[in-house]
Symmetry: D2
Subunit: 271 residues, 4 copies
């Protein structure tokens, strides 16, 4: 039986794990095959009140631990903006503050001197652009030579209880679409030539996986994917999860890369 | 066992039915309790090519048969615009051409004389407005005295195979939310005082219903609704289904009420 | 010469005025014909950093002074959501927390007991609904009997320097469209039967008014309104002004009506 | 005096021009400095009824005359999606059908064999991405080696009467932002290494240019750009112009590159 999931937590029961609890959040660190996966388990992002930015600061700290200390970082929002549960990456990208161009006179006038350079892109999806996301990213990496890429993507889980309740970070990039059975070429150091840190939040369960989990292997494919149409299980609050989740991830990227600016300043500058 | 659905087709196996086939579309007419339900079964609205407007004309004809021949009609787009699979009604309402105000000099100047009066409203949902949809509609019915209301709403099905593949019309109004276990007061002649024709397309299956259907009554509620969070099964193409479905329903309303204008003229006038 | 404007500040040079300065904001109070107009002049809402909510609290205070102390309040977002500079009202309405339905068991369970009842509506515009905004509002006022209406609308100014830099409150309602030469029936106590407090931010200057102001009466109409097409002067940052302005006005309404909830709680509850 | 405009029609009164009339549309061809500019003057795109696709076919034909007959074409939607009058390019890009990836088995199964390869990108703007549009495009051109780029952009005019009423094509690329005084590096054969055909529709007049045109050089900068905030003159119907204009340009690109597919087939395939 093959349960689809993008979550390391749900995959490798035998991997090396360390778990700690901080500020009401369960933080799991999984190491395998030379990579690190960090998972933050929280209450639903659509309901959660984070007035003191506890979750944000925890996420920022974990992200900062995975990113090289210096040099240009390219933030990439993966996924399809026109498909609600897949829009997490593109919407997060809109909220990351690009700073690569803020230098010299402009930096002085705006009071934004000494920022770490950040660039931002949403490479789109093959069906809309005719290009694999890794092709677009490789092109931009070759042109602009960042020290690392941070790739944001909506993830698939096996267990609906995790939807909107988990943030996953990884040091080894991502296979977009793997969790919903539409796997695209990996986006990682092997395809881009620079380290790729991936971050994401699970927003869907593949309906076939959900069906198998409930009723076993005997479920006819037609039940969960009639006429080959892919079905997904999502929370009714998916639009809110995408909105709040993309804000959380974008702000974490902002704060991890340019800690000299406050949450309020980023909110002001990045729209 | 209580399977949630808004589709008469899925409810009443014993009701009086007549079925006919027209232009590749199965049309089922169900009569019960003094009401009529008409269902058009088609290929998925997200894939379907309707270049000759075959489906549109069939839908228009069935709708015209349910609507009083004269007088002001209020088109009401039910549901929550901010929740993707629930936005069918509000988006359809945006595309219905309001004509109630086109009279006298304006009608002459624009060449739009002799149109049947149509007004349009999206009453919103209780959580956003603090008012039940039927309260808002009753208020507007009292103020403007239409001969009938056409209510557009996204529906829930029991069978995922019907999502985006069925159009349902009814002569007896609607209970918003009934198919997903969040039933609101009925919108019908008893609450509004005028005939209510309802039209809709199924866009979700309640995940609890999906789970029960697959695995029987024994499924723990926690599996399909973790922490009480409502989960839905939707096609991956849900945004496209909402976009195309709302256009189809709106154009059908336009053509049923003002057949003197062509599809192209409505596209031009109603944006 | 007839300069179009919705701003009392720009209209009545001879009216009774009192001006005070508070927290870097110039507050002008104009009384005439039994009505009160309050204007807050600030830096541009698109640039302004309000991290301590200074402007918000000032606006909240002035708004609270105009609203009856008790009873249901209907918040109405006027204007056309599909026309960017006119979308201020509808977007603000989306962010006002409706509370009229939060009572009894629901209030207990959610910890939201004792809130003042608020309902919310966006009545749309004549061209889209076939109904004047005042008709829709009168219908809902008759049905739900609020103690007052707060009407939010985008305003027109005469001077481009005021766009996005002024918040106007009034105790005597509003004539939608007056500032751009498309005047609709007034929305005030005379049409609705209850007090109407109006609030707004100027987002456009009518291009004919701008042209007259620059070049005098001799400007041919064709220059500023070619082929009768209405032209507007707006800041390039208009989308950002609408986004931030609608948030400011909505939060002010929330805080003025239910001061027991904090800004963070409203942000959490009202999406 | 320096009037800002992106329209060749408004710039070079002395250039070599040929004018013809076809299907109620004035077509002007301007040659200078080795480049060709073609302008179609029509009624406003927001009002115009084009039921027989007359304008579309005329535009398609002119575009086809400028594009190389063979090889991959990269369609690039320039501008800022979050600024209404600047969103023409990104919205057009969403509606261009990407075909570069449709080959082999997929092409057979979908019946889409033998299509010309097309790829699509929206490179964003410097303030949002930290990268000049030409950098992003150069990167993708280097990676994917197209035979040509078609760049779509919103244009600035000097005369408000042209807004939404003109389509301009050029064989020599574009300087984004030139018409509103925010000139970015050129996007043309010199920066990308392949031919760049640019197409666009004027959507704004810079308010300073409008003011100068009305009142001469003596207009204080403060009048048209208070506190340095850039002001624009746009039609009230700008959202509709952007919607319909982006559809027109996208469909023209589709039809010029893959004439074997009909308008209806593209509408179906490209969403």
């Amino acid at each position: 039986m093959n349960f689809r999931t993008d979550l390391a937590l749900e995959k490798n029961e035998t991997s090396k794990r360390t778990v700690r609890e901080k500020d009401g959040c369960k933080v799991t660190r999984i190491e395998e095959d030379g990579g690190v996966y960090i998972t933050l388990e929280v209450g639903s992002i659509s309901d959660h009140i984070d007035p003191d930015d506890t979750l944000l600061e925890l996420f920022t700290e974990e992200l900062a631990s995975l990113v090289p200390k210096e040099g240009l970082v390219l933030a990439a929002g993966l996924g399809n903006r026109a498909v609600t549960p897949d829009a997490l990456g593109p919407l997060a990208a809109e909220r990351v503050l690009a700073t690569r161009h803020i230098k010299g006179e402009i930096a002085k006038v705006t009071g934004l001197e000494g920022l770490r350079p950040v660039s931002v892109v949403s490479p789109g999806v093959l069906g809309c652009t005719g290009m694999e996301a890794f092709e677009v990213l490789r092109a931009i990496v070759n042109e602009t030579q960042p020290a690392a890429v941070i790739a944001v993507d909506a993830l698939a889980a096996r267990n609906p209880a995790r939807l909107g309740c988990t943030v996953q970070l990884s040091s080894v990039g991502i296979s977009p679409g793997a969790g919903v059975g539409n796997s695209r070429p990996r986006i990682d150091a092997s395809t881009l030539g620079v380290p790729v840190i991936s971050i994401g939040i699970p927003t869907v369960v593949d309906a076939s996986t959900f069906a198998q989990d409930l009723a076993g292997d005997g479920v006819p494919e037609e039940k969960a994917a009639p006429r080959g149409a892919q079905m997904m299980v999502t929370p009714r609050e998916i639009d809110l999860i995408i909105d709040r989740g993309s804000r959380l991830l974008a702000m974490g990227i902002n704060r991890a890369l340019n800690p000299s600016l406050s949450v309020e300043e980023f909110a002001q500058l990045a729209g």
